[in-house]
Subunit: 337 residues, 2 copies
């Protein structure tokens, strides 16, 4: 990872030039730095589209908020100075992908948000409403991840949610669970700081796995009166199998944490208990727009998740700092100071 | 595995004494002989109920058809001589379990169907209708497994099914897919005999994985016009991961084959493609009853699946023979000759 000067992007038709105000550092970026090539190779093996040339520059950063500078030829768009966010990539799980769309996440062609300037696909620009502060608007993307995972789970009020892991993804899931009216949300994380945030974002019970197994807590507090949906937002080898082991019969597990390595599961646990595992990724454009609305209207208060703001030069150091889950949750990069 | 004399069962209240006419040998029994203790230990670790004393007799056989001999005290039931089948176990995934119910599958207390006599729970007895031959009635249980798996999949006409493995479970899935009107069923097995049976039971396309990858066949024949549901009826390490690798985006995989060992999957394939894995086991009492009706009314012709009939003394040899998938599919044990 290097910080360097590159040529300014020039917006063509249907594209806009924007100045980045802030861009959150995502856990996927941390993975990508270490395992990027392996990730792309694995995806390609399984029919995942997209190619990436690791001999060329890749400017990361997909949780951005930016200010409109100008639009390409014959391209109407929000007036210069407007604060905007945009879905950074139209997930191929959710066709149709608009022609000419930019992908600002992990691309050789388009800058991500760890850059002063970006070229975005104009039809996808969303003006930030209601005076929402820019740094909070940059939380739209991770919050959309939580909203999508909860929607895919099909969880309904009366069911209990257990959230394993309270990093940004787990916290977004907790916020989204509150939005759909879940009345018992039990969240677990080893970090006291992350547990405190889990409670702020809406978890009803938080527990420290070093002291109290979250599934024991569920058993004690909620198993008699409700069915369970588990959200695995840990994403390390073994976490899915642990969720399967303690899962009650006929329950579902949402896999939202990204585990890069092959991982062992115990199929007979799945079979004996007729478990359902739903893997999830990304969000729809509608969910992204909804996330922005929830932040702007104050239905989600993401502000406490932002634990630091850094310049472009400080990004490599910030990546290191994020390894300490007790100091940081979401670090904002401000490429233009 | 031994063949020996044991005391005759005596029916108490709510129980009936029956004479076994035939009992199919199930793949689970083959597993159980080699891995029974490990299976029970693994299940117990993950909260699966039930205990089993491996120091005592366990008489296997849960695909039985029998003739009523007599009922316990104050127990009304079908008249002696009636040919009956019964759900062998009320799966705890599907409460409530009737009080006093017998479990005739893997029990220290109740004989399974590899015995001359059994004690069954009277309210669960189903008279065999419509003159259905006894040996075909013994296919009720495996056919119910297929009906359940297809119901859990939520597959609807217009979707395509790929069935990996055409042993008894895969064949039952194929028959059940036809019953719900699936118009493209693609089935794969290395065995020519099993492929022929797959076609007889309703597969529209059968393929030999040694010659033509089933997912290439799907890609060629059906991917342009329909979504896909895969049924993994192989149940060996690696089969689930292979299904995940070739699965199209946002598709679902039903895990119906029982893999006993821990098994490696590649979570990032699941995540990138938002796959759904649904593990399935057993059936509801309603599905069991429906399976009997389909056999009796000729909507499923199971007769070609029965490849041999053996006496009790020949059961150990039959277990060995079943290792050869080209000679046998379903072997019927006839304990009373």
């Amino acid at each position: 990872m290097v910080v360097d000067d590159v040529a300014d992007p020039i917006p063509g038709p249907m594209h806009s030039l924007v100045r980045v105000v802030a861009c959150g550092i995502c856990g996927s970026d941390l993975h990508f730095v270490h395992h990027g090539e392996a990730m792309v190779t694995l995806s390609a093996e399984a029919g995942g589209g997209g190619s990436l040339d690791f001999g060329r520059d890749i400017i990361m950063g997909h949780e951005f908020v930016a200010e409109v500078l100008e639009h390409g030829p014959d391209t109407p768009g929000p007036k210069p100075g407007t604060l905007v966010v945009s879905i950074p990539i139209v997930f191929p799980t959710l066709p149709p992908v608009p022609e000419n769309a930019s992908s600002n996440a992990y691309s050789n062609e388009f800058n991500g948000g760890y850059a002063e300037l970006m070229r975005l696909f104009t039809p996808l620009l969303l003006p930030v409403p209601n005076g929402l502060p820019a740094h909070q608007a940059a939380l739209t993307e991770p919050m959309a991840v939580g909203i999508h995972a909860v929607a895919k789970s099909g969880i309904v009020p009366g069911e209990t949610a257990v959230v394993h892991g309270c990093g940004p993804v787990g916290l977004a899931v907790i916020a989204a669970l509150r939005l759909v009216g879940i009345e018992t949300i039990i969240a677990a994380d080893f970090s006291p700081a992350r547990r405190a945030l889990a409670a702020l974002l809406g978890a009803h019970i938080v527990c420290d796995p070093a002291v109290d197994d979250v599934m024991d807590v569920w058993q004690r507090e909620a198993s008699a009166t409700s069915t369970l949906v588990q959200f695995d937002a840990i994403g390390v080898p073994g976490s899915l199998n642990r969720a399967m082991k303690r899962a009650p019969r006929a329950s579902r597990i949402l896999v939202v944490g990204v585990c890069m390595q092959p991982d062992a599961i115990t199929p007979i646990w799945g079979i004996n208990k007729e478990l359902s595992l739903q893997f999830v990724l990304g969000y729809t454009p509608e969910e992204f727009t909804a996330a922005l609305g929830h932040l702007a209207e104050g239905r989600i208060d993401g502000a406490p998740m932002i634990t630091a703001t850094v310049s472009l030069d400080e990004v490599p150091k910030a990546f290191e700092d994020l390894a300490n889950p007790d100091r940081h949750v979401k670090i904002m990069v401000t490429p233009n100071g």
